[in-house]
């Protein structure tokens, strides 16, 4: 018996970064979220060709191009729809979905709720900066109602969306909040989300230093969650609805059975399907 062990190269975070340099504004929180994603993938030692990163539109949706994994930069708000299809067709892939608060909660809000409900094994990472940065600073669903700026004088007056509670109510199986200024902690949350079966939702507070420079203060405001995760969605929802929105950590880890994607047989081949759509 041959007992010579061939050494296996250990992948580092750098192995998951592509040669493309991010064009984000210097100081943007998305830099460290990208770093956290690559650290999480390295921690799990997932081969890049077995991972797909899917996104919609927005600053943070550029992430697929900055990784060496398979990537799909889709249309606005539809990242979860594309990712769901991908995971169902290729259950062997680890599928990450990345985007921002506008893409995920407004344009893609309906997909968000139903992705939570379906509980397909995806990890959805939302970089929330409470603003549409790419289109120059409009209020987003998570913008505070009194955020006064030139585009919404006096603030919108509209109650901010609470994505974590919506995710819980809709059936997400793992809910966490991270902070981009804590890249190592965020990497750990992402790794946990990937490992957890079903739909994992990780909301990351990621300051926009250009349109919301006051968010630099988030570093002084965030704090670790004082209690550990619960598997009781009602208890998690109560905690989230009464917290200050700044506690970070895993807030809910449920035990719902994920949507079954393995062992399903295709009902027809691709050529037959294409023929049906032929003009």
């Amino acid at each position: 018996m041959n007992d010579v062990v061939t050494p296996v190269a250990v992948r580092t975070a750098a192995d998951y970064k592509s040669a493309y340099k991010p064009i984000w504004c210097p100081g943007c929180g998305d830099f460290t979220v990208l770093s956290a994603i690559t650290k999480a993938l390295a921690a799990l030692q997932l081969p890049p060709h077995e991972v797909a990163v899917v996104s919609g539109i927005g600053c943070s949706s550029r992430i697929p191009a900055y990784t060496t994994c398979y990537g799909f930069h889709g249309v606005h708000g539809r990242a979860l729809a594309a990712a769901t299809g991908l995971k169902v067709a290729r259950p062997d892939l680890t599928v990450l979905v990345t985007g921002g608060d506008g893409d995920g909660y407004s344009i893609g809000g309906n997909h968000f709720m139903h992705a939570c409900r379906r509980n397909v094994d995806l990890t959805y990472i939302v970089m929330d900066n409470h603003v549409y940065g790419m289109t120059k600073g409009q209020a987003s669903p998570t913008t505070e109602p009194d955020w006064d700026n030139k585009l919404s004088p006096g603030g919108t007056g509209v109650r901010a969306f609470n994505p974590l509670v919506v995710a819980l109510a809709a059936g997400a199986n793992f809910v966490a909040r991270g902070f981009s200024g804590d890249p190592n902690g965020t990497a750990d949350l992402i790794a946990q989300g990937i490992r957890h079966p079903g739909f994992s939702f990780i909301e990351i507070l990621s300051p926009c230093v250009t349109f919301r420079p006051e968010q630099r203060d988030w570093k002084q405001q965030v704090h670790p969650a004082t209690v550990g995760p619960t598997d009781d969605a009602a208890r998690a929802a109560r905690r989230i609805m009464t917290d200050d929105g700044m506690n970070i950590g895993v807030l809910y880890a449920g035990e719902r059975t994920p949507y079954p994607v393995s062992g399903r047989q295709a009902t027809c081949d691709v050529a037959t399907l294409e023929a049906e759509f032929e003009l």
Partner: protein
């Protein structure tokens, strides 16, 4: 630019090996951050500052290599599960991501580097005082002294670089609407 660190007690490493792995990780995180800054500044055509951050990344990389050579490591050491306790979200020598601005000047970059080296010096000083193992105490004092040298070097560098004018942030074609 906010560089105020949070302070929390950092548990002292129990062995020299553990301590040096932590010191190595600190240097590597600094390399990564300076490289991110250099890339970002290149993309925003701020080449002078980009070159400065690239140089700083090079220095920190050399420090990491020195640690590997001193310890006789042939490959980077594995980090402990869960990482290290730094007393803040990131290692003391890592410049916070939100500290930079696309119009910043070399003086600003040096100011950030100075703060990072001072935090590193304070970090090793605290570890030297908290450590119970003699070899850890000795190594922590050595690294504290090295960081103190770096602080002086950055100060000397800053003396040769002009301080920015008050309107350095003014951009005739800003990316955002002026209020």
């Amino acid at each position: 630019m906010n560089t105020t660190p949070k302070k929390a007690a950092v548990p002292a490493p129990r062995t020299l090996e553990e301590f040096m792995v932590q010191a190595y990780a600190m240097e590597c995180e600094a390399v990564d951050r300076y490289t991110e800054f250099a890339d970002a500044m290149e993309m925003h055509n701020n080449r002078e500052v980009a070159a400065m951050f690239r140089t700083m990344a090079g220095y920190e990389g050399k420090h990491a290599e020195q640690i590997m050579a001193e310890m006789g490591w042939k490959a980077p050491p594995p980090l402990p599960p869960g990482g290290f306790h730094w007393g803040d979200f990131e290692a003391p020598e890592t410049v916070p991501i939100e500290s930079v601005h696309y119009l910043m000047q070399p003086w600003h970059a040096l100011q950030l580097a100075l703060a990072a080296e001072q935090r590193a010096e304070a970090f090793f000083k605290a570890l030297a005082e908290a450590a119970t193992d003699e070899s850890v105490q000795r190594a922590a004092r050595e690294l504290q002294a090295e960081e103190a040298e770096h602080v002086e070097l950055v100060k000397q560098w800053m003396a040769k670089v002009p301080a920015p004018e008050g309107n350095w942030e003014d951009d005739p074609d800003p990316p955002r609407y002026n209020e």
